[in-house]
Amino acid sequence: MKIILIILSVLGLALTVIPSVLVFVQDISLQTHQNIMVFGMLLWFGTSPFWMKEQKL
């Protein structure tokens, strides 16, 4: 379960940054990049607290 959560979190980060590269190389529009970033944000904050909280602070 934990490994799935980590994969989803990493996917969330990837969806945050990769679309901007595609905008830079002019493969997608700025609006599409902004929409994908929202999805990436939801994935990150929806999954990362469940595995990051196990770390010793």
């Binding site: 901007s20 830079f24 902004q34 990150w44």
Partner: protein, 468 residues
Amino acid sequence: MQKSILERLDTRLDAIDEYEREPVPDSKRKGWKGFLGMYAGEHTAGTEFVIGPLFVAHGVAAYDLIWGLIVGNILAVLSWAFLCAPVAVKTKLTLYWQMKKICGDKLALIYNIVNALMFCFLAGSMIAVSATAVGLPFGIAMPSLGDWLPTSLGWILTVFLVGAVITVVAILGYDYVARFANIAFPWMILVFIAAALAVLPQLGVTSISDFWTVAQEKIWTGIPAEGQSKFTFWHVMFFAWFANMAMHIGMADMSILRFAEKWQHGFSSATGMFFGHFIAWMASGILTAAAAGAIAPGIIAYNSAGIAGAICVVIAGWTTANPTIYRAGLAFQSVTPDWKRWKVTLFTGLVTSIAACFPALVMKLLDFVALYGLVLMPMGAVIFLDVMVFKKMNLQSNFAEASGSDFNWAAGLTWFITLILCVFINFYMGIEIFFLGLPGWFIAVLLYIGLSIFYQRRQEAAVQSVAG
């Protein structure tokens, strides 16, 4: 009899022990992970969305910006590692309780009130930055560069909403703050990078080779905006070094680093400096250039990264305001030791939210940051000398505690005279506030050593004459 909800809440909140009034026990020390995320989150903040654009407005040239940030940030990390962390690990106390031992209750009281108010104003600027994004979907008119006073009722309500949420998290304690910063940081820094990358084509950058030319001609042009002073390499370097002067040279981060297992954990501040004060400042400069010079953080982030960008501004302000309110709460608590910590933090949050209503805190952020570091710096020099150097010079450490004094005049005069001399240097020698921290620290060091020798020898003579 069954306890009321308020009584149970009071008991539960009071049970969150943060060791404000005693050395941190070894069992509660934290490893690298406790600081890497904390520093990265704290310095990848809403205010970065303001500082980057203000550098652009002040006409920093591209070369000056990059080298100024590299050198200044390295000096800041070294200040944390070699000045603040060794003191924090040795004493395991907060700045405020160490102050009482060195300076006595009355001087510590004056210092703590000044310190707490400065932290409130700083956290207030962060809340205001978050509010510029929260107010966006409601169409609330945002303050502009020339606004110093609250601009509307909607603005005030937005500020208080953001302030309330941040205060509740601060009340829940340091672990909650560190955990939230740990979670938010990786996403936030990627939003900064992604937002900047996505707007580069608008500025004419279509390949990596175009960047340097565009950076020099369209972003950091070296030409200040109308009415703004010109910033050079030295301004950038000293601002990067002293932006957190109160935290490292001023020793405020003793409150955080007292939890460190070893002094080397002071180097963990590098995450904050190079992700936050390098990448984020450059990224926000790019965003403001793409937004035709707009400064409001919520707007420039929304223009480039949409809803995720606006939420990033809110969270970035939140993760910085949290530890700042926590520190301010610690300072107020030493002034009001009978108050419970959560009540003090609640009061601190209220003061901070009131301050945040005034946009001047954001629009004059560079000057305010330089001022608050400068005001608190002399006491940092006092604490460093007292804890790390005095025994080697055969001088009495913790003089107020040892002599039963409630006002250490050597420390008090060091603080006041240093600040007076800095004002003199500023007014009569024309040296800008951004540069005063360096001569000020050496002035404070010389004054505290000289005054301590004078007062301690006088005390010894008085004791001997009574004994004789």
